[in-house]
């Protein structure tokens, strides 16, 4: 475990500016050195990601239970989703994760402009993702597959050519979870896009360097987790019983 070897003595409660100048300007007073601060920030971010896993996990739990009970209805609902958009979106997020790691790679060598470029591409890919989701949502709205008073589902579950009728109420449960889970995911994408845009601006303005790029690393961790959540959402929502 980390042991801080602080030897700085403080004569009074006011830390003198001379002491501050001796350290990285980004070092805050409660830490003994930059490495301790970076490791603390990293651990903090990982703990936050654990809360995100548990947060989405509640919805995965609901999904798992209802899929087991209402398999046919869930399959019918899944079959009405546009698999091509789901697959393209998965690819978009994977590429965006690559651009994020490359952005951090670049800043470790002090290549600020390259870092900004990769961050901007990441943001653009994020917008592509959201754009495709809005196409999908609009389609669902037009097909009356949005849960609520206007919900209307008439398709059957196509099981290898055999048409099995399904209870529209149970399909509505599928779509409730579809919108809840992808909606919550999209909200996290928006947060991720805001974070990356802000960091791109700050990098451009010279706030980060090869010595200090912790916020970029931690925002990258967040982005990757949002990608991982989609990696699970795609097969669970789009790929139920596609073999027809």
């Amino acid at each position: 475990m980390q042991d801080s070897q602080a030897t700085t003595s403080q004569a009074t409660v006011q830390v003198t500016t001379a002491e501050h100048e001796a350290h990285n300007p980004a070092l805050v007073h409660q830490f003994a050195d930059a490495e301790q601060q970076k490791n603390a920030a990293s651990l903090g971010m990982w703990l936050f990601l654990v809360t995100e896993i548990m947060f989405f996990g509640g919805m995965f739990c609901a999904y798992l239970i209802y899929r087991l009970k209402y398999f046919n209805a869930f399959a019918a609902g899944s079959q009405s989703l546009a698999i091509k958009w789901g697959a393209i979106n998965t690819a978009v997020l994977i590429v965006s994760s690559v651009t994020v790691v490359l952005a951090i790679y670049a800043i470790r060598f002090g290549r600020k402009k390259l870092t900004v470029a990769f961050l901007v591409v990441t943001v653009l890919l994020g917008f592509v993702f959201l754009g495709i989701k809005s196409i999908e949502y609009t389609d669902k709205f037009r097909e009356h597959h949005v849960p609520g008073a206007n919900f209307h589902f008439t398709e059957n579950f196509d099981d290898n050519g055999k048409q099995i009728p399904v209870n529209p109420n149970e399909v509505q449960l599928f779509f409730s979870l579809y919108f809840a889970m992808t909606g919550m995911h999209a909200l996290h994408m928006i947060i991720g896009i805001s974070l990356m845009s802000t960091l791109a601006v700050l990098t451009w303005r010279g706030h980060y360097s090869a010595e200090y790029y912790t916020p970029l690393e931690n925002a990258g961790l967040y982005w990757h987790l949002v990608d991982i959540i989609w990696i699970y959402l795609f097969p669970l929502l789009y790929l139920i019983s596609r073999h027809t």
Partner: protein, 96 residues
């Protein structure tokens, strides 16, 4: 907690390409009738993809401390508890 040695650009691109290939694979396999194994294969591929992101993009492999891996694993472990123990109710109900 971060990977001080640095993964190379080549590694990142290979992992990225692998992830894309796995995405194509899972999409195509979904159209093959494997009976009850379709969801198993799909989730296995998803887990492999997630592990690649966690180990290489999030630098858990080669992290300076075991603590990182423990934190990640505990997140998924407690989610597994939520899922499994809830299922212990739903799967044993005779009326459900």
């Amino acid at each position: 907690m971060s990977n001080e040695h640095g993964t190379s650009v080549k590694t990142y691109l290979i992992i990225g390409a692998t992830l894309l290939v796995l995405t194509v694979a899972t999409t195509l396999i979904a159209f093959v009738n494997l009976g009850p194994f379709n969801p198993v294969v799909a989730l296995t591929i998803a887990t492999i993809k997630a592990l690649l992101v966690i180990l290489f993009f999030m630098h858990v492999k080669g992290a300076s401390e075991k603590l990182t891996g423990v934190v990640v694993a505990s997140g998924f472990f407690f989610l597994a508890i939520l899922l499994t123990l809830s299922l212990s109710d739903y799967l044993t109900r005779s009326w459900w």
